[in-house]
């Protein structure tokens, strides 16, 4: 069966930055991923869409080192890798902004940016574990400014900040440490109109820095606005890939729900 018009393999050339090939992952009798593939090219925003239960979260967690695939391969810049833990994925330059953000809300923004990777003072004090708070705050402020995250008082605790600001802090943290890919799981789900706007702008700015962004979202207008490509997951496998410009919302939704049938792509 031939793919319908509008379905194209990605127009972005070159070696994929991060790739999943035929990943199978089961939890007990539940087969969450049934040979799922996924591709991220350098410097793009790619949306990963799919209905609830399509396997998006499992796929993200597999690519982030939380789960290990039962079958299939993960490749970073064309080379097969084996992530034993999230730390391995992080060392490969892959960061995830989870939906719950995972911020310590009693701490200030800079403390969250550097949580687990603190900058210590030079010399003996640093060896004793003394923190260089000023340096962390300075670099934190710099990173918020670069990304356009507006925080009036960066010495206040995160608890005092709005949902959009918190999202901004979590994204800034991921960007600070990611050298290749940032995954964002439903980053606008809990936000109002203005803040959603800010987060979408933020995603574009992250791309401008040369870091690829994987956007997991249910919101189709949002996906169409910000994503360069769209990959659709259904029942644990990739069923369609679209490039922005030659895809409509109906096509994406059709692929998600199975109303429009596709062959399993050859990746």
């Amino acid at each position: 069966m031939s793919a319908p018009a509008g379905t194209t393999t990605a127009g972005v050339g070159g070696v994929p930055l991060l790739e999943a090939r035929g990943v199978v992952k089961s939890f007990g009798r539940v087969r969450a991923l049934r040979g799922a593939s996924f591709t991220v090219f350098p410097g793009e925003v790619v949306a990963l869409v799919g209905d609830n239960g399509a396997g998006k979260s499992t796929l993200v967690k597999t690519l982030a080192g939380v789960h290990r695939p039962d079958e299939g391969q993960i490749l970073v810049e064309g080379k097969p890798v084996d992530f034993a833990s999230p730390v391995d994925a992080r060392e490969a330059g892959i960061e995830v902004v989870y939906q719950d953000l995972a911020l310590a809300s009693e701490l200030e923004p800079a403390s969250n940016l550097y949580l687990g990777r603190e900058i210590t003072r030079p010399g003996v004090l640093g060896k004793l574990g003394f923190l260089d708070k000023r340096e962390m705050r300075r670099r934190g402020d710099e990173s918020f400014r670069d990304l356009g995250v507006k925080i009036q008082d960066t010495s206040a605790s995160v608890a005092a900040m709005s949902g959009g600001q918190r999202q901004g802090i979590a994204v800034a943290r991921a960007v600070m440490w990611a050298s290749r890919v940032v995954f964002m799981d439903e980053p606008t789900a809990a936000l109002g109109v203005v803040q959603t706007r800010n987060v979408l702008d933020l995603i574009k700015r992250v791309r401008e820095r040369g870091i690829a962004v994987v956007l997991i979202s249910h919101n189709m207008p949002e996906v169409l606005e910000v994503a360069d490509r769209v990959e659709v997951l259904r029942l644990g496998r990739r069923v369609a890939r679209f490039t922005r410009g030659d895809v409509t919302m109906e096509q994406i939704v059709g692929a998600m729900t199975g109303a429009i049938e596709h062959t399993e792509d050859a990746a």
């Binding site: 719950d100 310590a104 809300s105 990777r117 009036q152 005092a160 803040q195």
Partner: protein
Amino acid sequence: MSRTDATLAAEEAELDDAVPTESSAWWARLATVSSLWIGLILVGLIVAFSILEPSTFLSVDNGRNISTDAAILLVLAVGQTFVIITAGIDLAVGSTLVFAGVISAKMMHTTGGDNGGTVVVGLISGLVAGGAWGLLNGFLVAKAKITPLIVTLGTFGMALGAALVITKGIDEREIPYKLIDGIGTGRVFGQVPWLVVIALGVALGFGILLAQTRFGRYTLAIGSNPEAARRAGIDVDRHLMKVYTLAGVLAGLAGFLSLARFGTTTIGGHSTDNLQSITAVVIGGTSLFGGIGSILGTVFGVFIPAVLQNGFVITGVQPFWQQIAVGAVLVAAVYLDQLRRSRNR
């Protein structure tokens, strides 16, 4: 800048966002300014009693009395602060103090002699004995995932029981004179009691550890959001074990200091130390929900009940009022903490 200002700024900047704006009473706003207000209360009490009884309350001797009485509790409360910041609780500190005191006394007795060496043996064995209970608490909380309240309620009974078994219920009174004379009643430059110097040194050292180092940062982060800490690559279980062990070691030190001060193991005298230390920590602005706290606040929280007690005695008020006043301050402190949190949610 204060939390209040930050909250206001956030509200102004993000009008579409539902930051709660109610409860703008002055006392609610005051509550958001860390542990500053509790320091002011302490100063207020000292000023009030000084005006009422300038000659007796406001004397060097009396200051020395209050500080000496508070010293051992302060050492316990410093450890308790770390534990409560992780959103835990340590009910076993008083029993650990007693157990460590018993082991320390027995070890000094066995070693024999009455010199510096004997005292050092007593100190080390007290710290190790206390640390062992702390480590057990930490292991059960972090690895066995039993709630801290139950774990330390269990070891509260076990440590005291073990102390009673070892001593057959009779206090050990043969404490080296060197220890009692040196640390128990001795003074630095003939003025400041060694007990006070040691307790304040502990508070200063661990205050810096909490506020300035990676260890303190992890303690706060785990109390604030353990899942976030875990995802940031922090070994949460290991850190929790360290924190409970720290509280145990400090209880061991307190047991050693108690031997120095009283010249006996005072087995029956520490059944409410746990509640007193928790009260001090909470009055000092450390949150029972975890993630917020300071050692400076705890120092204030230890001294407020001590000053009240002493001040009531000197001004001729029935000292039993102290218990009522401290209880009320405790409830108020927790209420203000809740207000602060709900404002920020």
